[in-house]
Symmetry: C2
Subunit: 369 residues, 2 copies
């Protein structure tokens, strides 16, 4: 596939770490929340193998925060997500589908409860800030909604634990998955969570002081040398093999939580009020008409730049492929597809046309293993 | 400056015209409303000279529409913009700052009044869809809010009138600036406005049927051959020389309409209700503390990828440069900068550091001429 340049401008915001990753050899960017997000440092497959064995430092500042604070902050946050947060605890991260009043998805952030009246919504690629502002104006909530200066560094991979322990001490290894705490570095406290957009383990450091962020970025490479640390980024192969869904790629505002397998995060039986609750009850009782599923295709290479229809033996469109990659683990192309009812049963065979040739595939469960 | 690739995926949506512009030699993309927007076909300066003399066809499908219809649609649209739309007419486009309840900017779309109860908000790069949805939920408005299938082709440049007349007949030359009407092509009616993101004159065709859109795209090149038509895109040099502001580049949600020179679109004396009205009255009475101004710099080349501070002779930061380009018209670098009070007077001298060297500049009015 031909390469096209990205035309940079202030509108595609740089991060505090951009000049560093450019010295380190970033080769491709995507744009996420109006910000540059590195997408490759050379070969994505090399990055994949490295991530599964060692440790990588990622500039994921594009994972922006929407900070909601004030008297009605808990009410507003709950209104936006179909997940019951009434028993949520400070120091914990919650994966929360955000929905509109039709029950369709707006975003799928991790929400951090900073205090009873202060929340960070760590967003995927859509302007949750303006959704929250619209709701707050309409409901006359007493809240303050801002995008704070927070530029996340992710430390991902099996050696991330040893690396982070050397810098932050034993306490950091005691963080539970999706827990967060504050850690000292250069005289300031920094929120660090055990989380990240890979299944290889690791941390996300929510850095509020860009100057200290740059120092920490450099320190991670200095100390990480012994662990074969490398710069990296969310890895297309690893995230699809791990079935980490991506808003905008695998689902969007035309899909609802039941179609995306988010059933466990839809608290219809709770007493909490959230947008779309009645619609979601109706959708649940009627049953979803399409579902995100895994697919495996008899193909050794793919480069997907938009949705692609897939067909059954009778040339009926049974769904669309939304993300795909060659998987070194499965030794074939795997992907994530929205499949229509009743075709979403496992072992459903399909055909897909790539560059004028037809290939065979099969529907399977998510996660793949 | 080094080139970086754009990593394509479904999340950075292609348009119906993407495969065509790639055959025609697009070299760089930006991302706008989660969609690919061409940014260069080779030399931007060549494109600039061509645009000012002939006619170009632009894939600006990334200029998405937010369609608001239903009983309360006029109320919701008015609530979002500080411009009085009470006397707005069907068949007209209105440039409307969209503000939040602090009076800060959310977007600066052109709003098309399709019917008394149907509006298209032709947006700059932020998710106005979710802002509108949040407001509609909170205010319990009876509205329907969607992103319709509309993929705009812009026809820009002095020869655009002759080209469009050949395809759509004499009636299209009678459209007034910012007027729109419906024109037949391939058996369907298409909304075409006399508008576009250049000052060279032209049209925007709001195409709702992608298959017909592709036919029209090809037809424009077939008929346009005699006018030396070329593929193009919003041109950095032309838009800065013409002082066409860009949300995300020149201003954003940290700026208000008075700081951006939108005074004529802030209807504080009207009776209409809109968000931020009280705050905007306060801001107006206290006076803005910063303002967008033009700048001219004694420099022959610039490549701006983020804001850059500018200093006075005492090394006091007097503002930040947000967009800039070499201008063939002024034979030096010109740009758009947010300048602090009291430094925004014309002829204010400043210094700017580029690649370790210091250059001199002067503040000037917008537009430049």
């Amino acid at each position: 596939m031909k390469n096209y340049s990205i035309a940079k401008s202030r509108r595609l915001r740089s991060t505090p770490y951009t000049s560093r990753i450019e010295k380190q050899g970033v080769t491709a960017y995507t744009v996420y929340n109006h910000m540059l997000l590195p997408a490759a440092f050379g070969s994505i497959e090399d990055g994949y193998h490295h991530l599964k064995k060692y440790v990588q430092v990622w500039d994921v500042a594009a994972e922006r925060q929407v900070e909601i604070s004030g008297k009605d902050s808990a009410k507003l946050v709950q209104l936006m997500t179909c997940r019951d947060l009434s028993k949520s605890k400070k120091g914990r991260c919650y994966y929360c589908p955000i929905v509109d009043d039709l029950g369709n998805l707006v975003n799928d952030p991790v929400i951090l409860k900073i205090a009873d009246d202060k929340w960070w919504i760590s967003i995927a690629d859509s302007d949750v800030l303006f959704y929250a502002k619209g709701l707050a104006s309409g409901y006359k909530f007493e809240v303050n909604i801002i995008e704070p200066t927070v530029d996340i560094i992710a430390i991902q991979g099996p050696k991330s634990f040893a690396l982070m322990e050397e810098i932050f001490g034993k306490k950091i290894t005691e963080l539970k998955f999706f827990g967060f705490d504050y850690f000292d570095y250069e005289g300031e406290q920094h929120l660090i969570a055990r989380s990240g957009w890979s299944k290889q383990g690791g941390f996300e450091a929510y850095i509020q002081n860009p100057e200290i962020g740059k120092k920490l970025y450099d320190k991670l490479f200095e100390v990480g040398n012994q662990y074969n640390v490398k710069p990296g980024c969310p890895n297309l192969i690893e995230r699809i093999e791990s079935a980490l869904l991506s808003y905008g790629n695998d689902f969007d505002n035309n899909d609802n939580p039941f179609e995306c397998g988010f059933d466990q995060y839809v608290s219809l039986d709770s007493e909490v009020e959230f947008l779309g609750k009645e619609n979601l009850k109706k959708i649940k009782s009627e049953g979803a008409l399409k579902k995100l599923k895994g697919v495996k295709i008899d193909l050794q290479e793919i480069s997907l730049t938009s949705s692609k229809n897939i067909y059954d033996v009778n040339n009926v469109i049974i769904g669309e492929l939304r993300s795909a990659t060659y998987s070194p683990l499965f030794k074939q192309v795997i992907g994530i597809a929205m499949i229509k009812k009743p075709f979403w049963k496992n072992t459903q065979a399909f055909k897909i046309d790539i560059n004028g040739k037809t290939f065979d595939g099969k529907v399977c469960d998510l996660p793949f293993i």
